[in-house]
């Protein structure tokens, strides 16, 4: 089974999403670094919270959701299509970048606030595990195999990665952690952030989501192109092999039809 050789054109909407993402990100940085006031308790360090929760949301829910959903849809026979496999693989790679950024920005906030770069806290550990699982998925993806075998293998791996997503989410409820609970909403849906700080945080979620969609779209195109090149190379080598075989039959066929002229 091979993938379709249909290479999609670059969609215009993806460029629009990219531009909107850059503009929204620019506004987020402007508001976060220069316009919003320092926090009463954390001072300027609270400015890191205009990017860290949004990055973590993308890593955990958006990338994790697309990877799990795409893998499920690939495994389900009725919806099986390489589109879902490629989309899931793209989401895992982009998600790995965002997971790494979640850990780094969290660590940069934790050092001055908690006094440590790292602690074996349930939220931090489960997030680090998510990154390790995503790297494992990407390594598995590089193992040479038939496209269908690779897709099934990776879909199962993505579902294993997805098991960690609710663990990360509920880790602050299930265990006593240094990491705080809900940053914006508590379990009673009471807002912890207000005014310009809330708007900036909301904009950061929109900005990083748009950037995620753009990155996912471009990464998906890379995935399609990679598979298409693989298919082309396979066809070319098969074609060459067939040509060689045809020549051999042509050359060797003559004497054989004469009763094996070369035979002693």
């Amino acid at each position: 089974m091979t993938g379709q050789l249909i290479v999609p054109r670059r969609p215009r909407w993806l460029d629009v999403v990219g531009v909107l993402g850059i503009v929204a990100l620019g506004f987020t940085v402007w508001l976060g670094l220069w316009i919003t006031p320092p926090d009463v308790v954390q001072g300027n360090l609270a400015r890191l919270l205009y990017i860290h929760p949004a990055i973590a949301t993308v890593a955990l829910y958006w990338a994790g959701g697309v990877a799990a959903g795409g893998s499920l849809l690939y495994l389900w026979p009725r919806t099986r299509s390489f589109f879902w496999d490629r989309l899931a693989a793209s989401a895992v790679e982009v998600g790995a970048v965002f997971s790494a950024l979640t850990l780094v920005t969290g660590s940069l906030w934790g050092r001055p606030v908690w006094g440590v770069w790292w602690t074996w806290d349930a939220r931090l550990t489960s997030t680090a595990l998510l990154l390790i699982l995503e790297i494992g998925y990407l390594a598995l993806r590089r193992v040479p195999a038939d496209l269908d075998v690779r897709a099934k293998r990776c879909a199962v791996a993505a579902l294993l990665v997805a098991v960690d997503v609710p663990i990360v989410h509920f880790s602050v409820d299930w265990w006593n952690t240094l990491h705080q609970g809900g940053t914006i909403l508590d379990p009673g849906f009471d807002l912890h952030v207000h005014g310009i700080m809330l708007w900036t945080m909301g904009l950061s979620f929109v900005a990083f989501t748009l950037v995620f969609v753009w990155l996912l779209g471009v990464r998906y195109q890379v995935e399609v192109l990679q598979d298409a090149v693989g298919d082309q190379e396979l066809e070319v080598s098969l074609s060459e092999r067939w040509s060689e075989d045809a020549e051999l039959v042509g050359v060797g066929g003559g004497p054989a039809s004469d009763g094996g002229g070369d035979a002693p």
Partner: protein
């Protein structure tokens, strides 16, 4: 450099580098696809449609 500046620089810098690398990868694979497209087949050789 403060922790806040470092956080923004790392986040935005990493995303910029990753985005550029994706665009370059896309360009490279587009070129590879163009290069791997088979040339006109000689008479008698199997055509692509017969293989898939």
């Amino acid at each position: 450099m403060s922790y806040v500046d470092a956080g923004y620089a790392v986040a935005l810098g990493t995303m910029l580098v990753y985005a550029v690398s994706l665009v370059l990868r896309r360009r490279r694979w587009e070129r590879a696809l163009k290069m791997s497209e088979p040339v006109a087949e000689p008479d008698g050789a199997p055509v692509r449609g017969e293989l898939s």
